[in-house]
Symmetry: C2
Subunit: 244 residues, 2 copies
Amino acid sequence: MRYKIILEYDGTHFEGWQSQPSGKGVQDHVEKALAAFNTEAPRTTVAGRTDTGVHALGQVISVDIERDIAPEKLCDALNAHLRHTPIVALHAEIVGPDFSARRDAKMRHYRYVVFCRKPRTALLAKRVWHMRHPLNISAMQTAAMDFLGQHDFTSFRSTACQSTRPVRSVDSFMIRLHDEEIWFEVSARAFLHHQVRNMVGTLVEIGRGQRAMDEIPSIIAAKDRSAAGLTAPPWGLYFVKVDY
Amino acid sequence: MRYKIILEYDGTHFEGWQSQPSGKGVQDHVEKALAAFNTEAPRTTVAGRTDTGVHALGQVISVDIERDIAPEKLCDALNAHLRHTPIVALHAEIVGPDFSARRDAKMRHYRYVVFCRKPRTALLAKRVWHMRHPLNISAMQTAAMDFLGQHDFTSFRSTACQSTRPVRSVDSFMIRLHDEEIWFEVSARAFLHHQVRNMVGTLVEIGRGQRAMDEIPSIIAAKDRSAAGLTAPPWGLYFVKVDY
């Protein structure tokens, strides 16, 4: 039986989603927990391979389990074995035998949170990117519109990105103020490695007045990583949800 | 010169506000930081002596400092010395020589956050009280109205409470839903020890249907701690602000 499972996790103390020789990938913990109450050692397929320090509110995995177990029971058993970790299964359901959490994803939604005030934050450390200086929200909103649509995002992908094609289509990019937090919400079918963090890092430079707000098209046209801004740190990034 | 300073802190790893032989009180860290850039060892007076694990968004202290230092510089110097702790100075100002953060407080505002859903929370551990079961918000709202006004709160104070008088006046009690969080916001000139956590613990029993929503007056009348509900855990409690 194939299952789809939605996971929430605090990425702070993991080396990203993917299984690591150190055993510190989120995947290592989830697969170990699944193996603890199944005779086989189930292998998971993930919607988004989050990096070290990146959080998830709605990560999705698909996994085959030999014995027939009710989805709610699977969720409870998984949570029982994950109880000493900051990983929680929110939901499980039975899906068709061809379903893939990765391949069938129609839209991936990310949120990046910048915390904007002079003093540090005592309560949101490792949850937000702290910015001492004010940011011009409307300049960033105007600039973000230039990311929409299909572009070659070479300037915004990690030089280590292994994707064969650098073209992606950004469907939505909204920037909103929530008290002292600025939320960057971006949606696309798929993203390149570091694409969200590089887009946010560049927008923040625009928000601080270090770049003009009409620079995005020329940065995209350059197809050169060094033309764009810095990579925003991982701890402000949340993998929010996936549409299928 | 006397200063008023507003502090934010994550109470998780401290043994409450008050100075401890272990050195693990928030006060110990703040006074050590103040002593690091002053010739004397300044002693602080605090608005609210928070317990172990309780957080502060707007704790207030008053403190005398011999040398004349601009408030903004005081804030920066204090933050520099507190940088390895989850304690942040948000604001400092010069006040009159008779000002006391404790004695002059006209109103203290607390928030208690319950996180209500079946699975645990990966991202808000030690920030909220997790409740697996749904709560009846309107029953709790109705019951909370019976706390308003002046009462003998003996039933809602810790048996270790050292206050000579058990009478307090609750001025406002609002219960609101924020997605999966329930915020209990309560204001009074002063509170007894554990009063907020005991009121919230009792309201949650009403929200779960374990007590009737009209029980509060008889619990107050009993003047007996055992008549009220359990003490809500400290990690859901925030000392929000003080009016002077």
